[in-house]
Structure formats: C-alpha cells, structure tokens
Amino acid sequence: MGTTGPSSINEKKNVQYGMQFPIFTIKDMVNLQLALINSLEIDQLFSVVGGSMGGMQALEWASSYPERVYSSIPIASSYRHSAQNIAFHEVGRQAIMNDPHWQKGDYYNKEKKPRHGLAVARMIAHITYLSEGAFQEKFGRDMQSKVLSWGFDADFQVESYLRHQGISFVDRFDANSYLYITRAMDYFDLSHSYDGDLSAAFRKTKCKLLIVAFTSDWLFPSSESLAIVKALNRTAADVSFVEIDSDKGHDSFLLEIDDFYKILHGFISGAARKKGI
C-alpha cells in the first residue's frame, strides 16, 4: 500500500523494513503529496477530496498549506481520532500482533503470514464501517442453511460475510502496513499543536471547504464534523456543511448516494465557476 512501507526493501540491509520502518503521520502523507505537486510544478490544487483518513488529509492540507489548495472536501472524517476509534484500532492491532505468525513483523520471508490476525482486524473494522440498520437490512438473522450447526460454524450469513471480508482483505493488504496506517490515524489531532484550539489550526485557511457527514456514521459521527464547522466559523472561513441522510454507516462515503453526489457536483461546479475554470 502507498509508496514506501514496511514491506518495502530497506536498501541498507537488503531486507524488508518490517518494524524498522519509521512511524509516520497524516502530515507526513500530506508532505509527500506536497513534494509530488512541487515536482510537477503545480502551484495550487483546485480541490483536495477525501473520505475518512483521506478527509484527515484534506483537513491537513487546508490547515498546513492553505495557499496551495483552492478547495477542500473532508468527508465522513474528523480533526482527531476519538478514544473509541483508537480503541477499535487497538483491538485490530492486538489481533495482528498476537497472531503467532506475525513474528514481531518479521514475516516477509517466512512461509506463514499473520493472515488470521489481519483477517480478524479487518472483521472488527468492517463492523465499524457499517451501521446497526445496515447490518439488519442486509442480513437480519438470515442463515447459511436451514439447519443450525449447534456449534461455531458460520451459521449466520453475517458471520460468513465478515469472514469473507477478512480473508479477501489479507490477499491485498500487508499486516504491518495495517499497524502503521491505523497508528497514523490514531496520532492525528489537528488541534494538538495549538493547545487544543482547533480554530487556531485554521487561522490561515483561505480555501473553500465542504464538510460532509452521514447520519448513520457512528465511527466519524456528525458531531465530529460539526466541531470542525464551528472552529471554521470562529475564523469566519468559507465553509459549507451538510449531513446526508443515509443508513449505510461510515461506508456511505464510498456509495453512490444521490444527495451526496448532487452536493459534491454542486460544490465543485460552484467552486470552478468562482475560480473561472
């Protein structure tokens, strides 16, 4: 995942970094993107759009490099990871680090990988991406077959779905990357450098912002977005905020929801008109 990560080769030692990889932050990710646009000689990005962790990056751009972005759209995101979010991440990381095949992160050249740990981490995370209503609507108490196993097989469709989510994730994601990326989100707090005063983080922010939240998102609830809106109001920034009605939980930002698309389309076209493009 990404550019360079724990699974990349450390050229000094000619072996994967593993846990030797340095801890990185959301700001490091944004700094990397900045280096990219610098090398491409782009003065200003028209819009930085991101959901969840991408929303954190969109906020970081608006705060740290306000003159380099014309508009920013953080979606289903927050200015800092809440205690509950850190808690869920911690359970996921524990699942990985307690997998006997994790081997303190040194598993790249071993036959067995920490597949189970990463799959469990993904299963937990996946629950946080949906909502109670979404689960109920999608699965209810539907069964895999008509008879119960009277044991611990995946009798319910929701169980089999989660197991599938876990297993298919393992094939496309590195367990160590999961540790590092979840940590980057945990460490994110835009107000931290300003003694907890979030509006100070946006003092130089001149770009147009659209903050989007979803009603059933309990991982990044609307109250988080509202805290950002209030902080931006205190600096009299150019901000729009909308809470989209959706029962699909945090995942809503990845789905084609009509109202959501209309808002994005309207905001982006409006910003383009103002910018004269």
């Binding site: 209030k230 109001n233 729009s240 909308v242 809470e243 009605d245 109202d259 409006g270």
Partner: protein, 206 residues
C-alpha cells in the same frame, strides 16, 4: 421564504462585495441573487438538509445549522450584513437570535410577517380562527412560526434591547414602501410584512 419584492429591496440595501450571512437561507435563491448582482461574499445557515443541498448545489457556502444554536460560534462583526428574512418568528428564542445577529453583523436586515395586519385581525375578530394568508400559509398545527409578532411588538423589543432602526419598509401586499415613522398605527395595520435595517447602538458608539 423570500418573495421577489423582498429580494429586490434587500439587494438594494447591500453594498457591492459585502460579506453577507443569510440566516435561514432556504434554497439559497436570495444569496445566489446577491452573489450574481452584488458580488457578495455570501454564507448561509439553513436548518433543512434539502435547503442546504439545493444551496450548496448552486455553489453557495451554506452550513446546515440552527439559528438558535449556531450563531454563537461566529466572532463579533464577522459579517458586513446579516439577513434574517422571514425566519425570526420560527426561532425558539427570537430575542437571543436578534442579539446574536447584531453581535456578528455590522448591520442586520430583518423581515417579519406582521401579525397586526388588518386581514389577520379580521380573521380572529370575525371568524375566530388563527390567521392563514400568503405570508403565513400553514395552519396553526403544522406551522413552523412559533413566535409571531406585530410590527408594534417588534419595535418594542428593539427599544428594549437598545437596537436602532436605521431604515424601515412596509410591504402592503402589493408593493414595498419606505416608511419614516415605523411605529405609526397605520403601518402596523396595513403592512403584511415589515422590513428593517438594524444596527446595535452599543456597536455604533464604539
């Protein structure tokens, strides 16, 4: 809710390039008109998500929020003009909203449906029913207008809060006219709507 007459008048009261907040901006028609004609730097607050969506889709900056709660986060004198068009009567705490508006705006333009209008008085007097008309279109059980007042009531509140009325207009149902003596009996009787430009006495002294 903003009719065309109202829109034209409000537009004439706003200087070019002003920073404007429209509280209860609905679908954003007024802000859009002001951006087009006066090149204002506009911001809206709207309680309904449908209104916010329509406004943002027009390219306006609008926050989904509540006038009763969300004005507090704005700094003093953040806006050149704060507009409250046909919204004060729908707030839970009109007095507090008025005070907040004058804190965050250098001037405020406010329009209120006038409950002292003769037709409304007639409806109560002769038919014994809660008035329903163009500016008060919903019946009593579903209206959002929970704090209706007459022009006379409104002026009394302004006096109590030491708010100065810079300009006043009345909507006679057909046309909007400037009025020199807002407190006259006839204005309260013949206006379906009152429109006022307010400023805070305390602010202007400083």
């Amino acid at each position: 809710m903003t009719n065309k007459l109202n829109e034209k008048l409000i537009s004439s009261l706003i200087t070019k390039n002003a920073k404007v907040l429209d509280i209860g901006c609905g679908n954003g028609d007024l802000l859009y008109h002001l951006e087009e004609t006066k090149n204002i730097n506009g911001q809206g607050i709207e309680i309904s998500s449908k209104g916010v969506q329509e406004s943002v889709s027009k390219g306006l900056s609008v926050i989904q929020g509540d006038a009763d709660i969300d004005l507090k986060s704005f700094p003093d004198n953040a806006f050149d003009v704060v507009i409250l068009s046909h919204t004060l009567q729908a707030t839970h705490k009109p007095k507090e909203v008025l005070i907040e508006m004058l804190r965050i705006g250098k001037i405020c333009i406010i329009s209120i449906p006038n409950f002292g209008y003769w037709r409304y008085r007639m409806q109560i007097l002769f038919f014994g029913i809660m008035p329903v008309a163009r500016t008060l279109s919903d019946p009593w059980y579903s209206t959002e207008n929970i704090h209706l007042c007459s022009i006379k009531d409104f002026l009394k509140l302004c006096e109590e809060l030491n708010i100065s009325i810079n300009k006043a207009f009345r909507n006679s149902n057909y046309s909007i006219k400037k009025i020199t003596r807002p407190s006259s009996y006839i204005n309260n009787l013949l206006s379906i709507e009152g429109i006022f430009v307010l400023s805070n006495n305390i602010n202007s002294v400083n």
